[in-house]
């Protein structure tokens, strides 16, 4: 996720480059927000302000779009983002026990970020990997057929 903390001028430059590459049509807003989210780990106020200027859109519109979609965040997230599939096929396949274990292991509830900014625990909508449920994604790594016993081992892979 976010590799380094960027601020001020850096963010403004990044937004400017993105708008240059994508163009300033309104239809490009979501693709641009995706990229900001990927770069910073979330969409900061600074980025929204700059984007509003560059795309000639009210900040309120950008904020309303950014908060509508689950994969865009307006809050900072931890270094590693865990997304646990909360859909029925994973639930039926024993996902509930994995989810409980995950919460216990991390001491976090859904949507929370750990004190040390290491973890953010989220649920995700169906990833279409229902044949290997329960499924969870950590950053870009996908784990299928997860059992509660595997959880501590999987978490150990991340610094």
């Amino acid at each position: 996720m976010a590799t380094e903390v960027k601020e001020g001028q850096d963010i403004r430059n990044m937004v400017r480059t993105l708008v240059q590459n994508h163009g300033d049509e309104k239809a490009e807003l979501i693709p641009i927000l995706h990229e900001i989210n990927r770069e910073l780990g979330y969409i900061s106020d600074e980025a929204i302000k700059e984007l509003s200027k560059r795309m000639n859109l009210p900040s309120s519109h950008i904020y309303s779009v950014a908060t509508f979609y689950r994969m865009l965040s307006t809050e900072p997230r931890g270094r590693h983002v865990i997304q646990f599939c909360e859909s029925a096929p994973c639930h039926v396949a024993g996902g509930r026990l994995v989810w409980q274990k995950l919460q216990r292991e991390l001491g976090l509830a859904k949507g929370e970020t750990s004190q040390d900014d290491k973890w953010t625990l989220l649920t995700t909508s169906c990833l279409g990997l229902c044949g290997v449920g329960p499924v969870m994604v950590i950053d870009n790594d996908i784990y299928g057929n997860v059992t509660p016993e595997q959880v501590p081992g999987i978490l150990k892979n991340y610094e």
């Binding site: 239809a27 409980q100 044949g131």
Partner: protein
């Protein structure tokens, strides 16, 4: 096309990528270089082959059609030497699957008929020539050179093809509407926002046979008079997005997209748009709002997209699977397509099977097949030979059907009559250990969460239902809850703006109808018959069976279990959080759920 004597297909679906599919490809390439075979053997990426649940990696070698399973990277040198240098099958690596012949792979399970899935796993999705070699883009050529737009529409209309996104509206009719609409610019849109939990057919088509979707869209655009198209794909499918982008680029390079396609004078171009995680964007008006860069909120219809759609211009939206059927309909004719299926539902339908069924995964069967055939013949029955309890069809807005409905012939109408929907073809099979109230609560939790909040019945109604169901599961149900639930279901269904709200009550309605006794047990007897709802169960250690091995006590996360070594242990119900770990661990089955 370069000539290779052998082709190796390596599965790169997300699960295999996680297991190291790309490392396998790299190792294979290295080994082929080492043996001087790069000119003779081609390594191709494909979507899933084999059973994803087995350890290790899968690959297929053609023309022999040998399926190697459970491979590790260390197996590669020997495999390459045996298979490609010495030209003999490395029997020791065919660990589970016997030698597969071609016909068996294309028709792997009884009762399947593959139209939409015909190329999946058979071609390299990232190579347009593979698609062309299997009659790809022939239908487009036929349409552009031999058929008028009106004839194209008529052919699709005659085939009886209906929207595979779930609503089942006749595709040809939709195309006629947009064709007749007035507008400077018309848009052809593909709904690839497959958000229904448990449905993954579209993902597999997008990843495994992207050109069939593109070809279907170009044909549709020609019929409708559209010059620009969008594929709206959900962001949860990054590999599908990547594959589609590559496929579009290749089609453009081959003159199949862009200006003056195949010298016909017809121009059409295509772009991929990615969602950002909002279930409601699968609804067509919300989807268009999202392409425009807005919040994905539905709006009332009419005006329908065919009159005022994307940027207020006439637009046509079809689902991935719908488009993917089009080339075959054009090539083989409407009559052939209409000969498959049942009553008013022609052709085939893909179903994504998940849950407690032995063979999970994707199947394609003709309409009219019964649920029993799907679950027992194609699906292999219930896992661990437990008893079937219910099947939920059509995603979160579908209903749960009990055993008495297993002989129902699957088509749009029959499912609607039974109180469910065909939807996107998700099938979640549930065994006897499932609590139907808990399942209804679970689906409501989903729709309540995904409700965009624009209209009141859906926003507030789904929340009220969820509160009541949660209360029932916690053992705090009230006698009039069942009537209140029925009332809410009716109101939400009748008064919501879009399909999400209208369908949201289905899981509750259908479970109330078919599993009322479970609701009653929860409410009146404070008992969960399936022993799932935590507040209504307690764990007890059976005196005669417990050997006092202390395993449970050592693993209890809250230290609720006490007892001396070799003495019967006791669980303190006030401390127990009912996590179930002790029950899973006990080697003597001495822990009982009451």
């Amino acid at each position: 096309m370069a000539y290779f004597r052998s082709h190796v297909l390596v599965s790169v679906d997300p699960v295999c990528v996680e297991k190291g599919a790309y490392e396998l490809i790299e190792t294979l390439q290295d080994e082929l270089v080492k043996q001087g075979l790069v000119e003779e053997v081609q390594v191709l990426e494909t979507s899933r082959i084999g059973d994803p649940e087995t350890e290790g990696l899968d690959l297929m070698v053609y023309p022999e059609a040998v399926h190697y399973t459970k491979l590790t990277l260390d197996d590669v040198p020997f495999l390459v030497e045996e298979q490609f240098l010495k030209g003999r099958i490395a029997e020791q690596y065919i660990r589970e699957t016997k030698r597969v012949v071609d016909e068996e792979l294309s028709a792997p399970k009884t009762k399947e008929v593959r139209i939409v899935l015909k190329n999946i796993g058979e071609i390299d999705p990232l190579n347009i020539e593979d698609y062309i070699a299997r009659d790809g883009y022939m239908a487009l050529g036929k349409v552009l050179t031999e058929m008028t737009p009106e004839e194209t529409i008529q052919e699709v209309l005659d085939s009886g093809l209906r929207g595979r996104g779930g609503a089942g509206f006749p595709t040809g009719l939709k195309w006629r509407f947009i064709s007749n609409a007035e507008g400077e610019q018309k848009y052809m849109i593909c709904n690839a926002d497959e958000g229904d939990p448990g449905a993954f057919a579209n993902r597999r088509v997008l990843e495994g046979d992207p050109h069939s979707v593109i070809e279907g869209m170009i044909i549709g655009a020609y019929a409708a008079g559209a010059s620009q198209g969008y594929i709206y794909c959900r962001a949860e499918y990054p590999i599908a997005v990547r594959t589609m982008k590559t496929a579009i680029e290749q089609a453009r390079n081959f003159g199949l997209l862009g200006d003056d396609i195949l010298g016909s004078g017809f121009s059409f171009d295509l772009e991929v748009r990615m969602g950002a995680g909002a279930f409601v964007c699968g609804e067509e008006t919300a989807l268009m709002a999202s392409i425009e860069g807005q919040r994905g909120e539905p709006r009332p219809r009419p005006p329908f997209p065919a009159q005022k759609g994307l940027w207020q211009q006439p637009s046509n939206i079809n689902n991935v699977e719908t488009y993917s059927n089009i080339p075959q309909i054009i090539l083989k004719g409407a009559e052939w397509f209409a000969s498959l299926g049942y009553k008013k539902s022609t052709g085939t339908k893909t179903f994504s099977m998940a849950g407690d069924v032995k063979n999970t995964g994707l199947i394609e069967v003709p309409f009219g097949i019964t649920l029993r055939e799907i679950i027992y013949d194609v699906g292999g029955g219930i896992k661990e030979d437990k008893k079937f309890k219910a099947v939920q069809t059509g995603g979160p807005m579908g209903g749960c059907l009990p055993e008495s409905h297993l002989d129902l012939h699957m088509d749009y109408e029959a499912l609607a009559e039974a109180g469910s929907i065909l939807g996107s073809g998700g099938l979640v099979v549930m065994d006897e250990d499932t609590c139907m109230v808990d399942i209804a609560r679970f689906f409501m939790d989903f729709t309540q969460d995904e409700s965009c909040g624009k209209c009141t019945p859906c926003r507030i109604g789904t929340r009220r239902i969820l509160e009541i169901l949660t209360r029932i599961c916690e053992g705090k149900g009230k006698p009039d809850d069942i009537d209140t639930l029925r009332y809410l279901c009716e109101q939400i269904n009748e008064n919501s703006l879009c399909g999400l709200g209208k369908g949201a009550p289905n899981p509750v309605k259908s479970t109330l109808e078919h599993f009322l006794d479970e609701y009653e047990a929860h409410i009146y007897e404070k008992r969960c018959p399936a022993k799932v709802c935590k507040s209504l169960i307690r764990f007890e250690i059976i005196d005669g069976l417990c050997t006092g091995c202390t395993l449970c006590a050592r693993n209890c996360p809250v230290d609720a279990i006490s007892g001396e070594r070799r003495q019967t242990h006791v669980i303190d119900p006030d401390i127990c959080i009912k996590c179930g770990i002790c029950e899973q661990l006990c080697p003597y089955d001495a822990i009982e759920i009451k």
